[in-house]
């Protein structure tokens, strides 16, 4: 009877569920990136402890509490470890919550993993797509309902992505998540996502949006104050789309942008914004730091250390955000500061100071140690007098007495740091050697990632392999020498990966150094200035913009020639380009003329005469287009100047026939007499080198002047 009542009360909790398919979720237990190297060489990212619990347990706990009933965990790299963790955890034995693991060794991207799922044919309805490093406490009820309603109206609503608001500042993005600002265009009425750009080029200070977006939407709102939570509600078609497009690898770069660009299938993506609940994904060390602190500050409640949501912990929350276990071997003189989590069985020596840090289980910390803002995982030994600031120290590391870790250091599993050794900022140390960088190509990195991880079964084995493989390429990685990590130290120092030092501070757990922060702020301000037309930086950017614009116009024009598009339509297109690049009509005239000359140049010609003929043929044909932009003297002058420039630079073939073409233009009433005379006047004071073409056209100009004088006289 008790059971029945409970069943009834559960049913009443989600009344809108009309006994249909169970809600399913796909959890990707691999991030398919190398951001967490060298740690992820030995342990998959989803099993790394986040405030003393594996990341995947946060994701699973959320999925379970959000009412998901069936989860498929796709294990790629280190699949054995993930599976054995899940087997030993409670997740397989939860009521109303089934966890199924799917192993896939040859998946090197999220796309591959989803294709594997599709082949298994296990997904029957809408599903939640999430990666195993996401922390959230949002409720799925509303977003699912919205998604379902949209699906009823429009079967093309393929996906709903969850976003949250943050302050629109590049500094915040940089500081909190280590990522760039995300730009989105959203239809405010339907919440349809129209544009998504997560790595916009800030130097350029502009983003490009297809004007078609504006064509059929009454309004469109652009956001730079949203964060992507990487929680997606997907329709089953998403899987088949991945299968159809075998080149889709990355969920955002390929799939999402692909769908947004592709208007043939007409699939639509919608957004759902969360307000009071928390959701974030751990992408790099910096977001690891930020999210850890958010959890300690209880934003992810109830996913906090003192609530037993996945394991038996006796952690209690004390004043000022200290999470301490009941059986803590803490010396009386040790000082534990605010926002600190200390795990089971950890011993802390005399006069040790710990603040803003997370200490795992079974660590032994000696006397006079100072730990600040760091993440110490399980079973770490820290001897007396060590100083650790803003570092990540993995399981089993031994720090001999007096060692110092400067901000940003990452020590991978079982590294030994020698006595009195001072590890410089952003140092990465691992017992495994750094794999040789063959290619920075994304795809290769994926391959490298998974195979490397799959092979390494035990530490010694791995060391053999890497020693053997890398022996002939020693110059890349430094050898394990005593001098590297002090006396008795063990581990290879990793050279900082591709991006160099720049990436080091961006993604590390350490606070951003003041000077770097100043740079970021400066850059942000510059960006801001750049948008003002009066500023200095604008003039620097102009030529680049010009050439972009010209290329665009040229491409448009060539297409028009190829496809024989009507002049009016070409005018429309060029106008839209003019608006998006913020140009004058004079620039358009110049650019159109430029494209014509280019076209003429490309046509086969033997002599200068033929060239002139070819050009005139083009010009006569597209006279309407050119004339459209030549409503003013200034624009005509611009065309002459442009032509002049081109004769000097890109189209030298025209320089001998400059005067002839000028005459032809005059003859076809494309350029009026006044324009040519004004041009001549303007050039009168210029250097000799600038006057080459004026001199060349001297006769013609002379003739024009005389003709006009005659006219005057006649009057």
């Amino acid at each position: 009877m008790g059971a029945q009542k409970k069943g009834a009360s559960r049913a009443s909790e989600d009344p809108e569920e009309l006994a249909r398919l169970p809600l399913q979720a796909i959890l990707l237990a691999d991030s398919f990136t190398t951001k967490f190297r060298p740690i992820t060489l030995e342990r998959p990212k989803v099993l790394l402890p986040l405030v003393n619990a594996p990341m995947i347990s946060y994701t699973l706990a959320w999925l379970e509490s959000a009412g998901v009933e069936e989860v498929f965990v796709v294990c790629c790299a280190h699949s054995k470890q993930v599976i054995s963790y899940l087997e030993n955890s409670e997740w397989f034995s939860q009521p109303n919550f089934t966890v199924t693991t799917i192993e896939s060794h040859d998946s090197v991207s999220a796309g591959d993993a989803l294709r594997v799922i599709y082949e298994r044919n296990v997904i029957h309805g809408d599903f939640v797509l999430i990666s195993g490093d996401t922390v959230s406490n949002m409720s799925l009820t509303q977003v699912l309902q919205e998604h379902k309603e949209r699906r009823k109206k429009d079967s093309n609503a393929a996906m709903t992505i969850v976003i949250k608001r943050s302050k629109p500042s590049q500094i915040i993005h940089q500081c909190q998540l280590g990522t760039d600002v995300l730009f989105m265009a959203i239809d405010p009425n339907t919440k349809q996502l129209l544009y998504y750009e997560d790595n916009a080029d800030h130097a350029k200070g502009s983003i490009y949006i297809d004007k078609l977006l504006l064509a059929d939407k009454s309004s469109i709102s652009l956001h730079n104050d949203k964060q992507d939570c990487y929680i997606d509600i997907c329709s089953p078609e998403v899987l088949s789309l991945f299968t159809d497009n075998f080149d889709y690898h990355h969920l955002r770069c390929h799939f999402l942008k692909g769908l947004l660009v592709d208007d043939i299938m007409g699939y639509k993506i919608f957004t759902h914004e969360i307000h009071s609940t928390y959701a974030a994904r751990i992408d790099n060390f910096r977001s690891y730091d930020t999210i850890s602190r958010d959890i300690i500050q209880r934003w992810a409640y109830p996913l906090v250390p003192d609530v037993k949501f996945f394991r038996d912990s006796s952690t209690k929350l004390e004043r000022q955000g200290m999470y301490l276990v009941s059986e803590l071997g803490q010396s009386r003189s040790a000082q534990i500061g605010p926002f600190t989590v200390i795990g089971n069985g950890t011993k802390i020596g005399d006069n040790t100071k710990i603040s803003n840090s997370v200490i795992g289980d079974g660590c032994s910390i000696g006397p006079n140690v100072s730990i600040e803002g760091s993440y110490i995982w399980d079973n770490v030994t820290i001897e007396d007098g060590c100083k650790i600031r803003h570092a990540i120290v993995c399981d089993g590391v031994i720090m001999k007495s007096g060692a110092v870790l400067e901000p940003g250091v990452v020590l991978s599993f079982k590294v030994v740091i020698g006595q009195q050794f001072i590890a410089p900022s952003y140092l990465m140390v691992s017992l495994l050697q750094q794999p040789i960088k063959q290619n920075s190509d994304e795809k290769l990195e994926y391959v490298d990632n998974s195979t490397g991880n799959a092979e390494i079964s035990s530490l010694t084995h791995a060391l053999d392999i890497s020693n053997g493989e890398i022996a002939n390429q020693q110059q890349e990685t430094q050898c394990w020498a005593t001098s590297e990590l002090g006396i008795g130290g063990a581990g290879y120092v990793w050279s900082i990966c591709e991006g160099g030092h720049d990436e080091g501070w961006r993604h590390s757990v350490a606070p951003i150094p003041t000077e770097k922060l100043a740079e970021v702020i400066q850059a942000a301000e510059d960006d801001h200035d750049g948008s003002l037309p009066t500023s200095d930086s604008d003039s620097d950017e102009e030529p680049r913009d010009d050439s972009y614009f010209e290329n665009e116009v040229e491409a448009t024009f060539l297409r028009a020639v190829d496809e024989n598009i009507k002049v009016e339509n070409v005018v429309l297109e060029v106008n839209s380009l003019r608006l998006s690049y913020n140009k004058q009509t004079a620039n358009c005239a110049g650019a159109v003329f430029y494209s014509m000359i280019k076209l003429a140049l490309e046509s086969p010609h033997n002599s200068a005469g033929e060239l002139v003929q070819a050009l005139m043929k083009v010009i006569t044909k597209w006279k309407g287009l050119l004339k459209y932009y030549l409503s003013d003297i200034d624009e005509e002058i611009e065309v002459i100047m442009k032509f002049e420039d081109m004769c000097l630079e890109s189209a030298k073939e025209f320089s001998p026939v400059f005067d002839k073409i000028l005459y032809q233009l005059y003859d076809h009433t494309i350029i009026r007499e006044e324009a040519i005379l004004r041009w001549d006047d303007e050039k009168r004071d210029a250097d000799a080198s600038d006057r080459i073409f004026v001199r060349q056209a001297e006769d013609f100009i002379q003739w024009l002047r005389e003709a006009s004088e005659e006219e005057d006289e006649e009057e």
Binding site: S9, K164, C175, D225, S276, R298, Y301, N356, G373, P511
Partner: protein
């Protein structure tokens, strides 16, 4: 057995995820689960105590803040212990088994103990006596379990009956408390309450239904603002209601005749654990000599003291109830300066109100002064069960 464990896990999961709302609902679910556990067990009372205690520990660990779980577990344990005695004594008188002086010692108590099962008023001296008598009873019962006598069946039946009574009590406590409303609420009075409590709501409804006319001030109960819900429900019953912010309670208290509030738990010293903001209301009431009345069923009665370090009194909830994460994302900047956040948001769920600020407790068995709570506690709980967690040590 496995299915029982599954049920236990299910409730534990619900508690862990804070999916059970309110102490009454928690108490009811716990009692029902324990009834199932007991009915599935084929063991003697001593073992039954262990089993129930074990289940109780799992449930308490799942949500240590919800004290009602522990209260119900202790109540059920008491029923088992009492049931333990009464059939035994019945056997003594009827069959006159060959037990010697040890049992005779308790000859004076049987009727009192069986009274306890039928859920009535106090019976003062039983605690100490039971403590002394326990070991010898256990050994006696183990001997008895070997032969499956009808009395063992009867014994279990009696326990189930006791638990059923307990569940019935929990279910009807609101009505029983509400019945006393006329004695407390008088014509044209102004009542102040804070937040939303079902007990208070029923209490006020009952007074209204009996044609008392009175006004209610509802303090909104930030940050959850459940006071808004209560105000909404009260106006549906045509009660004159005024909603005020928590911060203006002191300003309004001089116009108020009585404060009636619901609480989360009542501690052994007569202090209460109540929704946050309650201490301020109680202090204001004390300052203006306004009676501060706490209504709540006896399942909220907790035999622990608030200064006990084992008791987790407060629940630090999510800061997003106070402010939006997005708006304050720039204050949460850890990566500049020393790496410590400058903003810390504290959102406790409960307040502790000391007993001297409480004027009266209204329970389903009548009204009591805080200083009388210890007597109720000794009625409802056995001294052996007060510390449930002690078991692993022994």
């Amino acid at each position: 057995m496995a299915e029982v464990q599954a049920l236990v896990n299910e409730l534990a999961t619900k508690l862990r995820k804070r999916k059970v709302e309110g102490s009454r609902e928690t108490a009811r679910l716990t009692a029902e689960l324990l009834r199932t556990v007991i009915s599935q067990q084929r063991v003697t009372s001593a073992a039954l105590v262990e089993v129930v205690r074990d289940v109780g520990q799992q449930l308490i660990a799942a949500n240590p803040v919800e004290l009602a779980v522990g209260n119900i577990v202790r109540r059920v344990l008491r029923i088992i212990r009492d049931g333990d005695l009464s059939p035994e004594v019945g056997g003594l008188t009827l069959v006159s088994q060959g037990d010697d002086g040890d049992i005779v010692e308790e000859d004076d108590k049987p009727f009192l103990l069986s009274d306890a099962i039928s859920q009535t008023i106090l019976h003062p001296p039983s605690l100490v006596a039971q403590l002394e008598s326990k070991p010898n009873l256990v050994c006696h019962f183990e001997g008895k379990a070997a032969d499956k006598t009808p009395s063992s069946w009867q014994f279990k039946h009696q326990i189930i009956e006791g638990v059923n009574d307990l569940i019935e009590d929990i279910n009807t406590c609101h009505e029983l408390i509400a019945d006393q409303s006329l004695e407390l609420i008088h014509q044209n009075e102004v009542i102040l309450t804070l937040g939303h409590s079902r007990t208070v709501k029923k209490f006020l409804y009952a007074a209204k239904e009996k044609k008392r006319s009175f006004q209610v001030y509802v303090a909104e109960g930030a940050p959850k603002h459940l006071g808004h819900v209560l105000a909404n429900e009260l106006t549906e019953k045509h009660l004159q209601t005024t909603v005020i912010p928590d911060s203006s309670v002191f300003a309004m208290i001089s116009r108020v005749n009585m404060v009636i509030v619901g609480v989360h738990a009542v501690m052994a010293n007569g202090g209460v654990i109540a929704p946050v903001g309650m201490n301020m209301v109680a202090l204001a009431a004390k300052r203006h000599a306004v009676p501060f009345v706490v209504v709540g069923g006896t399942h909220k009665l907790c035999p622990l003291f608030p200064n006990n370090p084992e008791v987790l009194l407060n629940d630090m909830r999510c800061p997003s109830e106070l402010l939006s994460f997005g708006d304050f994302s720039d204050c949460m900047d850890f990566s500049v300066g020393s790496g410590a956040a400058l903003l810390h948001v504290v959102n406790p769920a409960f307040d502790y109100v000391p007993p001297e600020l409480v004027s009266l407790f209204v329970t389903e068995i009548g009204g009591y002064h805080p200083s009388y709570i210890y007597r109720l506690i000794s009625d409802y709980y056995s001294a052996d069960d007060i510390v449930l967690q002690q078991k692993p040590a022994s």
